[in-house]
Each structure stands twice: as structure tokens, then as C-alpha cells.
Amino acid sequence: MKNAVIGNNRQKANLIVLGAVPRLLYLLQQSSSSLELRTECAVVLGSLSMGTENNIKSLVDCHIIPALLQGLLCSDLIFIEACLRCLRTIFISPVTPVQLLYTDPTVIPHLMSLLSRSQHTQEYITQIFAHCCKTPEHQTVLFNHGAIQNIAPLLISPSYKVRMQALKCFSVLAYENAQVSMTLVNVLVDGEQLSQVFVRMMQRDKPIEMQLTAAKCLTYMCRAGAIRTDDNCIVLKTLPCLVRMCSKERLLEERVEGAETLAYLMEPDIELQRIASVTDHLVSMLADYFKYPSSVSAITDIKRLDHDLKHAHELRQAAFKLYASLGSNDEDIRKKITETENMMDRIVSGLSESSIKVRLAAVRCLHSLSRSVQQLRTSFHDHAVWKPLMKLLQNAPDEVLVMASSTLCNLLLEFSPSKEPILESGVIELLCSLTQSDSPALRVNGIWALMNMAFQADQKVKVEIVQALGTEQLFRLLSDPDTNVLMKTLGLLRNLLSTRPHIDQIMSSHGKQIMQAVTLILEGEHSIEVKEQTLCILANIADGNTAKELIMTNDDMLQKIKYYMGHSNVKLQLAATFCISNLIWNEEDGSQERQDKLREMGFVDILHKLTQASDPNLCDRAKTAMQQYLA
């Protein structure tokens, strides 16, 4: 059987169909059969597993995994190695559920103990771990069973395969895992710090695979907070190594992984972004990622075309990700990116690509660039990026929506020339529907965009927003559990309630509800920022002609203002004083009556006291208010 199936997938399938697997497994498990026989069985099964994905599925369905794991309990090394080889092949297949490794809690400790048996067991076991560690739970299980102490010495194994698989293990263990990463920095291998071992593995004469994986390990350790971003091993070693991985000389897969890892490494750190942006012309190097499949490969070489096509999407999304990361903080870098050949066109077409991954990465990149005032005014407008963006918003999965709506927020900023055309495209409905989403991020973005839109907007737009959103939804948002949503909703209210005619108009139609909401927030348990924002709304209302009366007739509200004027927080005092100042402003009708009423309520005394305040702003504000009485 062994000789018949080697290298012949059809024969393997035939044997499986004929039911050889259960029989082999039976022989394998039979402790009465001789060791040679059992070993041969494991070898044949290993050979069968080398076939197609369907073969592996059939093997897994026959419960081969528990049987082989059971076989590991045998003491014979050759038999164990045969079982492990087969297990390895099965576990590295994408069709095998990795959970099967963790169902029996005794398996992992036993595998750890087998690590010392031979180079082969080391290679197979580390390879299994590297492929089966997919979630934080897996990381914890492996970590708790001493994966780090057991695998660290393998990094200096004489066998390249063992070193490489051990390295891969560490990269999956450290990914987004602070516990593992913090442990790793303190591990010594042969008297040398682990980070230094990784640095050595990144030397340029080492195999690319090793350089890249070592760079990943250090990246993950850095992102998990175990290594500082200004550490030399990051700044002078990891970052340049990853930039090299993006060069044209590398394989397409390596370029994708290199760019993604680099993007992840420098995402939170502006200094790394600045360094990367000048290293080896990275920005223009990335432009090459969009040149697949190249026109040459289409004509001359079908095989290459196929290969290029397969990786084209991956390359594009990796490049977009890296651009997004590069441009997330620094204005100069953003400028450099947008000035790269056809960059904006590429983003625009990326937004409407079929692959979700590419669309998401493209919109991330766009979002990163949209933080630049200059780009919003120039390239964004020139390339009408809002059009594909709006299209993307119509029907997209949440993760894309979050990015797209966040970008839209920036495009709706008052100075953005895209604001007008976006408004005309009926975006309000869409944004209002976002505020009803289950995802807090989407609700924030929706209301945020509306807030930006309402800033210094026409009466018409404001009315449209209020109508489309509906007061009911507005008040629902005011009681949103997410503070961000609440803040942006208050911001929206404040923007709506600006300039006198708008204030009066909105207050005349929604005055009652708004006053209620304000009362509710001022009475509720909220942060200083929320209350300040609310008092500012109140101050805006006090600026209206007719709207003033809504406050003046509400003694409860006046008492609240009085309370906040005497609050310990200067910001709240300032906002409350501002409100009073608006109420007693001289040149308006009925100012005398309001002044009198407020004097009776004791506001003058408070104002007088505030003129002595230590905060110069508050002091000025109070003096201005006092002058209204004197005039």
C-alpha cells in the first residue's frame, strides 16, 4: 500500500473510498500488533494525508486525530515520529478544525514533553503549534503549558527547520498578547536575550523567511508593549528589515506580509511613520504593488499571469494598509502619498473593487488621508472621492461602513469642498439610519457626520436634519449609553441652535422637548464635558429672541444655572455665566425685565463674586455681564 500511494493522489483517493482508513486505524490502535506494523500504518496514513484536501477531510471524519494522539503515548520513538508526521500534515491543512488539538486537555502537556525526544518531534510539534494557535485562548493554553520555556532553546537548534518552526510559534504566540510578549523579553537563550536572537535572525544574509518571521515576532512584542517603539532593535533593525521585505526583489507573498506587518508596527507611532516614510523610498516602492498583473505577464506567460492575479488583490490591500498607517499622523507624509503616481485614482478604483479586503483597505487609506485639511481641499475634491465613498456606504459590511462613515465625517467638515455635492446626494437619510445601528462606532460616526454637516449650515439643511432624524431619535441618542454618541448629539444640537433666527425657529417647534432633554442631562450623572456642552446649548438658546423666554419662564432651569455658576469647575461656571450674560444682554427687547428678575433671584451677587475669580476668562465674562446692569 505504501508504495502504491506515494505521489499518486488518485490511488490515495481510491484507497480511502475502499475503506482502508478504518482498517489502518484499527491496526494502528491495536496494541497487540507489532510495533513495525503499527509504524507502517502510521506511515501509510501519513502518505494518504499528503493528498488532496478531500483526503484530509475523509481522514478527519474517520477520527484519525484522536487515534494518532493516542499513539503518541507509545514509548517507541520511530512510531511517535510517524504519528506526529501524519498529525502535522493534517493540522497544517486549512480544512482541519484546529479545535481538535485542544479537546483533550492532556494532549498539549504531552506534546510539550515530547519536544525533547528528537529533532523530528521538535519540528513536527512546533509546526503543529504554529498552525493551531489561532485565538487568544489557544495562546493562553500553550503559554500555561510552558510553551515559551520549552520552545525557546529550539531557536538555536542545529536544524534550520526546527529553528524556523520555533520562530513561527513565537510569532503566533506573541500576536496581540501582552502576557506572552512580556514573558518573551525576559527569556534568555544560551545567555542571550530573546530579542537579540531575533535581531540576529533578521541579518540580511539569513533566509528571507527567517528574517520576515523574526521581524514579525519583534513587531508583535513591540505592539503588545513589551518593547519600546524607540528601542534600537525596532528602529534600526525591525523597521528596516520590514521595509526591505516590501522591495521588488522579494516574492509577492513576502511583500504582502512585509507591508502588513510594517503597517501594524508603526500604526500608533508617528516617529516610526516618519522614519519609514524616508527609508528606501518606501512610498514610491509601494506604488509598484499596484502593477500586478503587469501587462508583460499577460501576454507572455500564462502561469505568471495566474500567479500575479492571485496575489494582485493581496498586494493592493497590503499597500493601502501601509499607506493608511504611514499617513495617519504626519501631514508631510500624506502629501507625499497623494503625490505618488496615480495614487488618488488608485484609491478611488480600490473603493469599488470586488474584494472586500481591498475595499476596506482603500477606505482606511482614504480615511487616513482625509485627516489632512489640505488634501480635503485639493486632491479629494479633484478626484471626487465622495462618489465612490457614497456608493460604498449604500450596502457594505459593518467594518467597511465604520471606516467609510468616519471618512465621510471628515469630508463633511465645513471647509471641505465636497460637502456640497455630498449633501445633494441625499446623505442625510443614510446618516440618520446609521444612528440607529447596533454598533456604537456606526452610531457615533452617523451623528458625528450630522454634527459636522450642521455646522454653520443653511436653515434648510438644519430643518432637513431635524426632520429626517426626528426628535424621538434625537432624544433616544441623548440617552445613549455611549458617551461619545451623547457628546456628538449634543454637538449636533449646539450646531443646530446657532444664529438667532435658527434658534428661534427650532425652539418654537421643538422647544419643549429640548428643554426637557437639557434638564434631564443637567440632573443626570454625566461627565463635566457633557454638562459643559449642555450648558453651551442653553447659552445658545438664551441667545435667541423668542427662545430666551423658554428659559426665563423656567425657574427651575434658572436655579440650575445659578448652581453651575457656583460650581467648582471653571468650565461649567464659564458656560453658565455665558448663558446669563446672553439673557441680560441690553440691546434686546425686554432686557430690563429679565435683568430685574435675575437681580431678584440673586444673580447679581454671584456675578459680583465671579468678577473676583482667579480665572481671567471667567472674570472677564462676569465683568461684561455686570456692565449690562450698569448701562
Binding site: 541579518q203 540580511r204 534600526l236 524616508v278 527609508t279 528606501d280 523610498h281
Partner: protein
């Protein structure tokens, strides 16, 4: 090291005198030399001390570090031929440039009104192609008024009243705009700007003829323009406004950028290129070629039994018959044991006419024989001594029959062959230099050992004579020739003590000689003395040596008449005779000749000559291939192919 001419003259006199001098006289002559040698050593010691005094220890340390780093970075560079840049050139600069701090710091001292006031300076030497990859760094100490600084490369003769990059054959990266200039007045956007505190590096890759700059240890990427760098570029910096100061680092300090890592990538690239060189279907041929190479190598060096075993195992043919191999083996053994006289006899017996047709070889052999006589190992002097001299068999470094490779071997092949087209790698200039270097080293090491005697000497001497004439200890004003006679007279008195006093010579060797003189046949003195002695310390042997030296001189003269002057012979003879001038020939500037290792050269030359006379190749193909590869790599350096730096033959020899 050449002896002072007066001593040479005396030496020749001693060796060529037609009348047979008395043994006292000869001994006196020898002693005369010893005096001269002491004076020489004293002078050398003084010189050494002088240079030590002027050297600042910290500076020396940096110098040492610099040399170490350069050697490590550029192992393929032969600095005798192509020196590396180590500082800015005080000659090759515009007048607005000022240099300080060992010519490493550059500052601007012009008006800096406009670009017409730009000024540059080049390094002392161009970048040798054998570097493969060359790198230097410049630290911006101060950006001055406007920071118009350029760092890069330029060829000899490019106008220095400009910033690097503006003119043809000039390249530069400029701090004010971050542009790269490649032989053009308009720059290309290249990298970030740079200013005070930044460290800017410039890397030249002579393998693919590109160049890139670094900033604070980060590579900024290859120049966008395809610049076909011309050869012999100099590191260059240019400044343009007052206050601009930059410091260069040509290897004095560790570099901020990890250049060694970059080099390792290229080394790996080139090694894999060599390893993957396609040999196609000729795989089978290669095996038999390799087997033949091994077999012929074994035969060549006379590893008879091994060669036979190898040929049996691999079924290869051996051209030469076994007796011939064994004969050669015997002769080689004799030479390597220092028994050159016997080797000459054996050669003449087994290969009659060989040496007669090779007068050069014969002369070399005889010279060696003389050296071995001094050593006390040649049979002609060995037979005189009662006890076998210690220096003969117990010589720790005695090579016996193991041929050495590398520099020593290359050297020996060159010396052995009189045709300059010798295929083994090292060029004649190279050889001479390495030889000089060695003597330099040995003289340095010998000076401390002789210092006690020289101190004594100068002390007693200072009372009656000036230091400038150290050997006029007897206060006579005559020439050295007459001095010699006087000394001889003194000695002929036989008063040991007085002669010692007069000579101021407090070295042991003199006493040993005297002991020999006075107690002929009394060998006890020899054994009691632990140091190695001239001719094994035997008087008769010494006489034989002197006589042999005279014969050798005669042979030289005869050859000179027959074939014209031969500088190599002259040098060889001079070196051999010089040995007698020192109290301890083993520890003197020419003492290296006595090293048994030196026998290998002549041994190999003789072996080659024998093989050639049998119509067999005088070089084993293996060595030929090795030499060819070495030469090829050196040729690559000369034709400016940078990859030679990473394709070194030594990398493949284990």
C-alpha cells in the same frame, strides 16, 4: 634591512680576501660585525623610542581601531596598492575649506554669499574597487547659516569651488532640500533634509555600480537616477555658508548604519551565485577532473603511499613511476631537514645535469646551505659537532613534508621561478612588500631583546665619545676598515678581558666565540650554553662556513660574469651574509632566514625543477587552479569589478 655600506665592505673583504687570514683575524672580523650590529640596534631602539614619545596613546588606540575596522570591512583591499581614504586631503580642497582634528573636521571659512562661494574637499585617496561595498559617514556638527551642505563623491580634478553633484563625475546629497544631485545642476527629489546633529552616510556599491545615502542609520534608498558611477571616486563634502561644520568618519568610529549587515547580504548573494553556477551535463567530467587534481597533488608532493591508495580507490592513472616519486620525496626531506648539502649531492647523483642547467637554482640552494650552516643544521657543519645541535631536529616549527598554502606558499613559488609569468597568484611587488613588512616586524620585536646590551653600551660610550659615532668606541678617527684592523690586533693579543672592555660589547655571544677559540675540541661549553649558537657553536664548523661563504661569493661572481648582474642573487647573498653581523642571528632583522619554514620555498623550487626535467608539470594542477583563481580575483579588483571583494579564495579554503 640593508647594512651600512662600511660593514658590507668589511664583510666582502672578510669573505673574499685572497690570503688566508688567521682564525683570530676572522673571529675579529666577526666580532667587528657584532659591534656594528649593536650600534645599529641601539639606533633602532632610539628611533623606536622616539616614535613612541611623539605618539599620543589615545590617538594610537584610535589608529589601531581604525585599522582593525578597515581590515574587517575591506579584507580584499591591498592597501599597498590602493590605500583607503582615512581623512580629508589638505591639498585637494578649495581655499574656503578649513580642516582640523586630524583632518577629519571640515569647516567653512568663506563669505557664503551665493553658490559661487561653495567649497569642497576630497578625501586623501579614491575608493578602491576591491572594497566591493564602500561606506563613510559625516556628522553635521553645525548647519551654520543656511545648511547648504552636500555629501557625496567626486572624481579627481572636479572643480572644488562647487558642491558635490553639480558637475560631471560628481554626486551629492544636499541638506537644504534633501535632493540628490548626479552630475547635474538640478537635483532630483531624493530624501529628507538634514541638519545639525544628523549623521549622513554614503554607500558606494561597486558590484552593481549604485550609490545610496543614509540618515541617522536608515537607508534612504538607491538614487533614483541610474548613475553609472565612474571609477576612482573620492569621498567628498561641500559647504556653502559660514558656520557649517561637519565631522567625517572613515571607520575611526563604529558607523551608525549597519554597513556590515548590508555587506553580508551581498556576500551571501555572490556566494550563492558561485554555488549555483551551472555546470550542466558535464557533471561526470567534473568528478574525474577533481580526482585527477587530488591525485596529481599527492604525487607532486611525494605522498607516495597515499597517492597509490587514492589512485586504486578512484581508478585513476599516475603518470610518474614510484621510484621517481620516492627519490623526490627523499630530496625534499633532506631540504626540509636543513641538510641542503646532502640534498644537492643527492640531486646531482639522481638527476645529473639538472643543477648545471639551472645555475639560479643551484645558487639558491647554496645560499640556503650557507644559511643552514649558520643554523648548524647542514651536514657539512653538523659533522664537526660532537653533540647533535639542538636546533636541528627538535625545531618545533619544523615543517617536514607538509606543504603550506596561502601567502607563504605563493611566495615560495615566485622565488623559485625565475620567469615573471609564474601563474601563482601573487605579484612580484606584492611579494617584496610582504617581505619588507616581515622584516619590519621582526626588527621591532628584536629591539627590546637587545636593549640591555645597548643600554650598557651607550652608558660606557657616553663618557668618551659622541652618540653619533657609536662604533668609534676606541676613539680612533679612522675609517671602519682600519678600525677593523685595530680590533683584530687587540684580539690577537688574546687578552679576553681587555678586548671586552675595549669593545664595550657585553653580549654573551662574543664570549662564546672566545671560548670556542681557546678550547678547541672541548665541547663542554656548547652544552652548557642554552641559546642556539653559530654553526652549532663549533669552531671548525665556523671555519668551514666562512670558507663556504667565500666559495659562494665566488660562485656569485662567476654567475655574474656569465649571465650578467642579478639583483635577486645579490640580495639573497647579502641577506645570508648579514646573519653573521648579529650577536644572535636568530633574533635579528634578517633572522627570519633561519626559520625552517623558509626551507619550503627552496624545497618546492627544487621539486618543480626535477619534475620539469622529467617533462612533468612543475606545479600541481591543484595549486595552479588555486593560483589562477587568486590571480583572477585580483585581476577583478584591478579592472574594477567590485564583486571580487566577496568572492575571496580563502572563503572557500577550509
Amino acid at each position: 634591512m640593508a647594512l651600512p655600506s662600511c660593514q658590507q665592505r668589511a664583510l666582502r673583504r672578510a669573505l673574499c680576501s685572497t690570503t688566508v687570514p688567521t682564525r683570530h683575524c676572522r673571529a675579529a672580523v666577526i666580532r667587528g660585525y657584532l659591534t656594528a650590529a649593536v650600534s645599529l640596534l641601539t639606533k633602532m631602539a632610539e628611533l623606536g623610542a622616539g616614535s613612541l614619545l611623539t605618539g599620543d596613546p589615545a590617538f594610537n588606540y584610535h589608529e589601531h581601531e581604525l585599522n582593525e575596522r578597515l581590515k574587517r570591512l575591506y579584507p580584499a583591499v591591498n592597501e599597498e596598492e590602493t590605500p583607503l581614504p582615512r581623512s580629508w586631503s589638505p591639498k585637494d580642497k578649495y581655499s574656503y575649506i578649513g580642516l582640523s582634528q586630524n583632518n577629519l573636521r571640515v569647516h567653512y571659512k568663506g563669505h557664503g554669499k551665493n553658490h559661487k562661494d561653495a567649497a569642497s574637499v576630497r578625501a586623501t585617496h579614491p575608493i578602491p574597487a576591491a572594497c566591493g561595498i564602500y561606506y563613510f559617514e559625516v556628522k553635521i556638527v553645525s548647519k551654520g547659516r543656511d545648511g547648504y551642505m552636500g555629501i557625496g563623491l567626486s572624481a579627481q580634478g572636479v572643480n572644488m569651488n562647487r558642491l558635490p553633484g553639480w558637475d560631471k563625475h560628481s554626486y551629492g546629497y544636499h541638506g537644504d532640500d534633501g535632493h540628490s544631485f548626479c552630475s547635474s545642476g538640478t537635483g532630483q527629489p531624493y530624501g529628507p533634509t538634514f541638519t545639525t546633529g544628523d549623521v549622513i552616510g554614503c554607500c558606494v556599491n561597486l558590484i552593481n555600480n549604485t550609490c545610496f545615502y543614509t540618515k541617522n542609520g536608515h537607508s534612504l534608498g538607491n538614487n533614483l537616477m541610474k548613475n553609472d558611477l565612474r571609477p576612482n571616486l573620492y569621498p567628498t563634502v561641500g559647504l556653502q555658508t559660514p558656520g557649517e561644520i561637519v565631522d567625517a568618519n572613515f571607520g575611526q568610529q563604529p558607523f551608525v548604519f549597519d554597513i556590515e549587515d548590508y555587506m553580508s547580504e551581498w556576500r551571501a548573494k555572490i556566494h550563492s551565485m558561485i554555488a549555483r553556477f551551472p555546470i550542466g551535463e558535464r557533471l561526470g567530467d567534473w568528478q574525474s577532473v577533481l580526482q585527477n587534481m587530488v591525485s596529481s597533488y599527492l604525487v607532486h608532493h611525494g605522498y607516495c603511499a597515499t597517492a597509490m591508495a587514492f589512485s586504486r580507490a578512484t581508478e585513476t592513472m599516475i603518470q610518474e613511476d614510484q621510484t621517481s616519486i620516492k627519490n623526490r620525496q627523499r630530496i625534499q626531506k633532506l631540504v626540509l631537514a636543513g641538510r641542503v648539502g646532502e640534498a644537492i649531492d643527492a640531486t646531482q647523483q639522481l638527476y645529473p645535469g639538472l643543477l648545471e642547467h639551472n645555475p639560479n637554482l643551484l645558487f639558491m640552494l647554496k645560499c640556503r646551505q650557507f644559511v643552514e650552516m649558520v643554523n648548524g643544521t647542514d651536514s657539512e657543519v653538523r659533522c664537526f659537532s660532537v653533540h647533535s645541535p639542538k636546533s636541528q631536529d627538535s625545531y618545533p616549527g619544523s615543517p617536514n613534508l607538509s606543504p603550506r598554502h596561502g601567502a607563504t606558499n605563493a611566495h615560495l613559488h615566485n622565488t623559485g621561478a625565475d620567469s615573471p609569468t609564474c601563474s601563482n597568484g601573487v605579484t612580484p611587488t606584492n611579494k617584496n612588500k610582504s617581505h619588507n613588512k616581515y622584516t619590519g616586524v621582526s626588527s621591532a620585536s628584536s629591539s627590546p631583546s637587545s636593549s640591555p646590551s645597548s643600554v650598557n653600551y651607550s652608558e660606557s660610550n657616553s663618557t668618551d665619545s659622541t652618540k653619533s659615532q657609536p662604533h668609534s668606541a676606541t676613539s680612533n678617527q679612522e675609517t671602519s676598515d682600519s678600525e677593523m684592523e685595530i680590533e683584530a690586533e687587540h684580539y690577537s693579543n688574546g687578552v679576553t678581558e681587555s678586548s671586552t672592555r675595549i669593545m664595550n660589547g657585553t653580549y654573551k655571544h662574543q664570549e662564546i666565540l672566545q671560548a670556542d677559540d681557546s678550547s678547541v675540541g672541548n665541547g663542554v661549553a656548547d652544552d652548557s650554553c642554552s641559546s642556539r649558537q653559530l654553526c652549532g657553536g663549533n669552531q671548525a664548523a665556523t671555519e668551514r662556513m666562512i670558507q663556504f661563504g667565500r666559495e659562494l661569493q665566488a660562485l656569485s661572481e662567476q654567475l655574474c660574469r656569465q649571465y650578467g648582474k642579478n639583483a635577486t642573487h645579490k640580495k639573497m647573498l647579502q641577506d645570508a651574509f648579514s646573519l653573521l653581523a648579529y650577536s644572535d642571528p636568530w633574533n635579528c632583522p634578517v633572522g627570519q632566514q633561519l626559520d625552517p619554514m623558509q626551507r619550503e620555498a627552496i624545497c618546492s623550487a627544487l621539486n618543480s625543477a626535477i619534475l620539469e626535467s622529467q617533462n612533468l608539470p612543475k606545479q600541481p594542477p591543484l595549486m595552479l587552479a588555486l593560483g589562477q583563481a587568486t590571480e583572477c580575483v585580483q585581476l577583478m579588483a584591478r579592472v574594477r569589478s567590485g564583486s571580487c571583494s566577496f568572492a575571496r579564495v580563502d572563503n572557500f579554503l577550509h
